[in-house]
Symmetry: D2
Subunit: 334 residues, 4 copies
Amino acid sequence: MIVVLKNGVKEEKRAQLIEWLKDQGLGIHISQGEYQTVLGLIGDTTHVDMDLIASLEIVDSVKRVTEPFKCCNRKFHPEDTVVDVGGVKVGGGNFCMIAGPCSVESEEQIVSIARSVKAAGANMLRGGAFKPRTSPYDFQGMQADGIELLKIARQETGLPIVTEIMGVNHLPLFEDVDLIQVGARNMQNFDLLKELGKLHRPILLKRGLANTLKELLMSAEYIMAGGNEQVILCERGIRTFDDYTRNTLDLAAVPMLRELTHLPIIVDPSHATGIARLVPPMALSGTACGADGLIIEVHNDPMHALCDGAQSLRPEEYAALADKVRRIREVIAK
Amino acid sequence: MIVVLKNGVKEEKRAQLIEWLKDQGLGIHISQGEYQTVLGLIGDTTHVDMDLIASLEIVDSVKRVTEPFKCCNRKFHPEDTVVDVGGVKVGGGNFCMIAGPCSVESEEQIVSIARSVKAAGANMLRGGAFKPRTSPYDFQGMQADGIELLKIARQETGLPIVTEIMGVNHLPLFEDVDLIQVGARNMQNFDLLKELGKLHRPILLKRGLANTLKELLMSAEYIMAGGNEQVILCERGIRTFDDYTRNTLDLAAVPMLRELTHLPIIVDPSHATGIARLVPPMALSGTACGADGLIIEVHNDPMHALCDGAQSLRPEEYAALADKVRRIREVIAK
Amino acid sequence: MIVVLKNGVKEEKRAQLIEWLKDQGLGIHISQGEYQTVLGLIGDTTHVDMDLIASLEIVDSVKRVTEPFKCCNRKFHPEDTVVDVGGVKVGGGNFCMIAGPCSVESEEQIVSIARSVKAAGANMLRGGAFKPRTSPYDFQGMQADGIELLKIARQETGLPIVTEIMGVNHLPLFEDVDLIQVGARNMQNFDLLKELGKLHRPILLKRGLANTLKELLMSAEYIMAGGNEQVILCERGIRTFDDYTRNTLDLAAVPMLRELTHLPIIVDPSHATGIARLVPPMALSGTACGADGLIIEVHNDPMHALCDGAQSLRPEEYAALADKVRRIREVIAK
Amino acid sequence: MIVVLKNGVKEEKRAQLIEWLKDQGLGIHISQGEYQTVLGLIGDTTHVDMDLIASLEIVDSVKRVTEPFKCCNRKFHPEDTVVDVGGVKVGGGNFCMIAGPCSVESEEQIVSIARSVKAAGANMLRGGAFKPRTSPYDFQGMQADGIELLKIARQETGLPIVTEIMGVNHLPLFEDVDLIQVGARNMQNFDLLKELGKLHRPILLKRGLANTLKELLMSAEYIMAGGNEQVILCERGIRTFDDYTRNTLDLAAVPMLRELTHLPIIVDPSHATGIARLVPPMALSGTACGADGLIIEVHNDPMHALCDGAQSLRPEEYAALADKVRRIREVIAK
């Protein structure tokens, strides 16, 4: 950690600060510049309150020079992590195609869509059982029954299943789910993250609408620090002033996260845009910048979907897209 | 709900859409403009999927003309709600001054601060027991013990206590807490909101960093739809591109929410700015635009606080501020 | 335009508003819903002050149903516009590869880079002569001399030249520039836009850091309303809370603008990210979602560039990228 | 400037970087931490390309420790600047009340409003002559005639006049304007700023919708570096995801700018909110956090204003507000 002192600080105040820092077990390296004095803090600064130091009258600014994330940091783990989801590998060159409806609605619906997306090239099935809805008056999902129907669809197709968890109370229901999704609104539900850290199961962690990449990595760190290292990150759009699409898909996050972490990174163009006809171009863009997979909403009958029909592709549209995705992967692989 | 059709839509497609809407039990009022046709949907549109209609090829745009929030809507409940928190009234002209440390650290600390802030003019005591921290390696709060210490401080001073809940699992520990706080990161933790809706206890609901006023009201609606109408809203800063303060305090939200809802609205200048010396001016601003109260971090010894010392006022600073707050309230009351 | 009245509006006030609207030459269609009354305004609403109506006490909200942009609107001009820049076509299936240094620094530098980028596949040369810099103490560009050097580079290579204009005073210097760039900070410099509307020359209009797609189109409209229809739009990143990259490249703007307008749309991954190693993945993403071209900074010696060396590719990196761009274009063309 | 190197950098690469920095005339102070090496750059780093260094493979991050603004920096000029606008002092404890219509519309209108606002407590008259409008089809202002009418209003009332300049071409028309306003959209129109730096006349510089405080100060620096030190800053709202008000008024900018600069800082609640009934509460908030003045739109007949009627107060509303502003100033002065 580096502490920049203000111009013309009194020797006495400076000495007090240095004493206080040393009391916390840190070594101090003093560097005298033309205009300012810079203190380099040596030792374990994990527990040092950076904001408090920054707020002192004699301090101009503070900068942390070691990232606070360890487990997910590529510096300490240079090789790509490969997560195994019910036999499907993700990361390290393995691309996943997750597809399915926003909500599970019936056995017929989910089995039929599962078959369609498998035929179209998907290798994992998504489907919402517990639905986080802005309004208490909206459809809240089939809940426990929805998870049972997903298992039936898995049995019928062999596709591993992905579904979202909304609270620690529901954990017992997720024992046989292949990939447990943490939604954007729960990215900083730290109680939930801690519980997921105790499992030995793959977790799909979506970036929150207003969260930085560092915060996303710190949330992954919550899970990994608990002992569960099977985390897949997902970029799904951030909230900006832009009002033509639901959110703004931040694709530069993909190559940037690639540098910062060894975890796999996938892209969700459906929730990012909220508009079905923008999903194919953004899915191709996500592939072109090097994502490890795509999670896309597909529905047999969007006009009668109980949720998010506006952003769902039809199976035939998904198949056409999957074909182009494969060919873009060939282009960038070379 | 209003549906604007695109220019030159084929009669057949238009008829199909109208049929489909009627199937959902809606009356349709057709208004033919020079350039566009507008459909007015008459009846209960609560369950109509607005995004789906907007995504149809023949539709230009859709607008909801009735707000989706009912319980907290001032249109249906014109008088201000007054929430009673352990004998302290909030709203309808009653101003609350909540103060205390970021975290409860010891009995001595919390009792001593409680006495200081009471003497300085506070009428409620805040203190974190469960702390939502970005990093798993940071201090996570004294948890159950912290709540017990808050109760001791209440016994010593008579101040009602306010503390944050992070998950439904901890609900039993909050049985004797006067005002249960839902933090910004949990504003859309819908499972938690539903459980709080079953209580008959005051809830302090903080606005999320990237949430609109409508979303804040919909989250209040989750609690109220469950039967608990004692909700206090809190503006605490939103996330923007601005990088000099931690968040951007959106004070125009106060008079805007005043129009939209009958619930009390308070302001948290400590978390919004993250810088102690900006807290007094922003607290005065929050008072001047008509807030129903202020929640402010106060610590006897900010340099040794375990959390957020950078944004804490000393008791004497708080007392000076409280005095100005009172006088600004007199100015705007006239 | 649609005006939604509040619940329980007095008949008298409603009549006054309708009278006032009719005075402005509009027909009014009244639609009575269960909860609200909706007025449909028929006729030319271009000059109606939407914000004023929205502010009236009896009005709940107002919605414009016809877009305020005409010349650039695809509804009135369904075919793609193709802009001819010194013989190079842009739009309607024609892809442009604009490359070159941030700043023109010397004849040797610009001619040498022009040759490199041409060999690597570029078909237009960019180079800054007038530089908009945040600080008055930074290098402000070679100005008039820079434009002369660009012309020499054009003579040597045959590449049309692109450079930025910062004010109407400099217009005479741009008489022989093939594509005049309006930078992000000048997107709403309306005086400049009006002057450019009087020319018969291609204009490259960059999206401002905080501008919506509608505002970008309205700025194009300023140029086109003056009679100059040769406008190319450019997405170059918007300002968000995100702090890892300089700006957030909003690629969904490409397919969205494609629907709204017939003008060509290109992408600038260099300024969007500010980091050279993120330029190739984001250039490929921009291609994959259907852009009509890319504008990329290339420098022979980034370590000694006078400006923006951090985001410049070396010619060999650009050549490798150009090859992949071509192959992605083949994939999406099918 | 401080350069943090990555872990495990090769000695040879490190030596190359240090050599390259020394070639630029800088002294280098090397500080060896446990995990990282930190280079302190000593000497004039004004011209060092921070982004370029940050982009090098061996560099983790770079931090500038001296601010790039000099003329407007409070560190080098601790006393408040007082700007004299036609006899009215602004800053250093002098509060200005600027009021008037969005647009000058006629002699009768502007003279009558000038009299009203003077009677209500204003000490400066605002009125738009050149109007920056998003749409080319909207009213663009009375231009030169508007300025003449403002002068007549000044003659009738003695109030100094404030009006916006949109381009360097119009400078001759502004010779007798007391306070020349640079609008938010032109905050980084550097050509204009440079020309204004050559004048000896007060400038009102509004913050851009997406500009940081540092960028605002750098734009002031453009004017001051040219020799014109009479600059007044204005906070008028920033663009965020928030959609209930036109922009988000960032009032914490007022006390923050107070620390960073000696220039006066005023607040514009009219443009920030766009809604007349939110103007009084936000004007009081702006006063309470210590602004040096307020600029507010006032119109005799908002329903017939040619521009921005939605955000205009009536003179009697302004008078009531002005009274409360005075009393809040008394509270915070003590």
